[in-house]
């Protein structure tokens, strides 16, 4: 026996069994993320602080992974930070071509310093031009969250439209 590679056109010559998985979930947000999502509704980015090592977790966790103790303090971090990395996506999540690139990246939120290896950070859209990404000028820029109007917020990460350069 050997294996049988197929070309696109060969697919029609063979029976195909189609099935759409009916797998649906209602993820429990839990203690930490419930408060975080409610905070977003209020226009606040909330984190949890480990009082043993001082590390701030954003998005929050109820435990410190370094010290293995419960984090014990809610803190509000700034909705401002530094762009650590940014990319411009020309494809959608189903790999269709996009006309206008979607720009996303990670943001190191304040308070934190450039020397930190771990820091409160968010993955989100960044409102800037493709050029800014392409020539890397967006790296290291200070950005601030652009919030949706209060009445449109639902307690979701999408309550922040994007981060834009201050």
């Amino acid at each position: 026996m050997t294996v049988h590679p197929l070309k696109e056109e060969d697919l029609k010559r063979h029976p195909v069994v189609e099935d759409k998985p009916k797998a649906r979930y209602s993820y429990t947000a839990g203690q930490a993320l419930s408060v975080f999502l409610n905070g977003l509704k209020e226009g606040k980015i909330l984190g949890r602080k480990c009082t043993k090592c001082g590390r701030i977790y954003v998005p929050p966790r109820m435990y410190c992974e370094d010290c293995f103790v419960p984090t014990s303090l809610w803190v509000e971090v700034k909705d401002e930070g530094v762009v650590m990395t940014a990319v411009a996506s020309f494809i959608s999540w189903t790999r269709e071509r996009l006309d206008h690139p979607e720009i996303v990246g990670t943001i190191r939120l304040f308070p934190s310093t450039a020397r930190d290896y771990v820091y409160p950070g968010l993955f989100h859209r960044i409102c800037c031009s493709y050029e800014d990404v392409r020539n890397m000028t967006i790296f290291g820029k200070i950005v601030k969250a652009r919030w949706k109007p209060r009445e449109e917020r639902t307690g979701s990460i999408n309550d922040i439209e994007c981060f834009e350069v201050v």
């Binding site: 026996m1 294996v3 977790y57 998005p59 999540w93 790999r95 996303v104 290896y117 820091y119 993955f123």
Partner: protein
Amino acid sequence: MRTNLRFRPVAVIGAGMTPFRRRMLDTPQELAWEASRRALDEAGLELRDVDCVVIGSAPDAFDGVHMKGEYLAHGAGGVRKPVSRVYVGGATGVMTAISAWYHVASGLCQKVLAVAEEKMSPGRPHPQSVFRYIWDPITEKPLNPNLIWIFAMEMHRYMNVNRVSKEDIALVSVKNKRNAKKNQYSQLGGDITVDDVLKSEVLVWPVQLLDVSPVSDGAAAMVLVSGDIARRYTDTPIWVEGVGWTLDNTSWPGRELAYPRYLENAARMAYKMAGIERPQKEIDVVEPYDPFDYKELHHLEGLLLAKKGEAPTLMREGFFDVDGEIPSSPSGGLLGVGNPIAAAGLMKTISIYWQLKGTAGGMQVKKSVHTGVAQAWGDLMQASTVIVMRN
């Protein structure tokens, strides 16, 4: 020659794989069977001789089968035997070999078949869509991410921190696709230029089409046995001398991405076990995980084979070429051979095994080799698995 005397000796005595292709007619079970049969043939064993089976497979969602290990067991020879499946995302392939190692090293099994399979082609509308579910369901998935974002973000950070150019990164793609020409199993071997890479479709800047490994179907398998048994079947067993793995935290947006600290950790674990103190001097051939071209550079640094930020310079100088100081991805890697996730990781391990045995054919590197390293990577930029082998 075995040099690690602390652990019970474990040797690889056979390996086999299917060609990697965009889509196969064969079912996952049939692909696993084919690879397993070839591995057993090379080892000179029959299925009845095997006492345990270890399966490696990455997300169940690709094949659309829940509990995929159970499903695959039938094709992987796992009938009426101890069978289990290990899983560390993209790093699963090498973990499968590591797990087979401790099956034997523990004394619980004598002859183990390690099988890895992935069939990415069935996913609709595109296998890419499956990757939406790897993100945090509450804080990340609502942004509709795709897999390439993750790599693009890490690649751009790596380029920014280390001042690496796209041209230097493209050299990896050129090298690996060239190496893959000599590999009979490869999907995308060929001669391309840096220019071809830079002119290919921009997917997610800075990632372009030729920076990326393809979507593939395929399977790979290996036979690992205890030392005294190995001598009965072959004069040239290849010894597993070091294993290491590490998982970093889930909070990837909150950590530095320019350097894979988790890989350094995993590599140090494996090197310590194998008694390697100066990796760059002692390692002869390496198969770092290269689903994207920059990843090979990133991983060569994490494997301590280049200083931070220096891998691109060494790459440019030919240090990692097939005839260089430390040939890297002589098989052609994922970029050239294809990327059926778990099977690709095991393919890397098999490539090192064939190199050390001297049976790599056209892929055989010029220098004589004694110590080889294979590595895989996965999850949300957090997992690495490393295996060190010697002849």
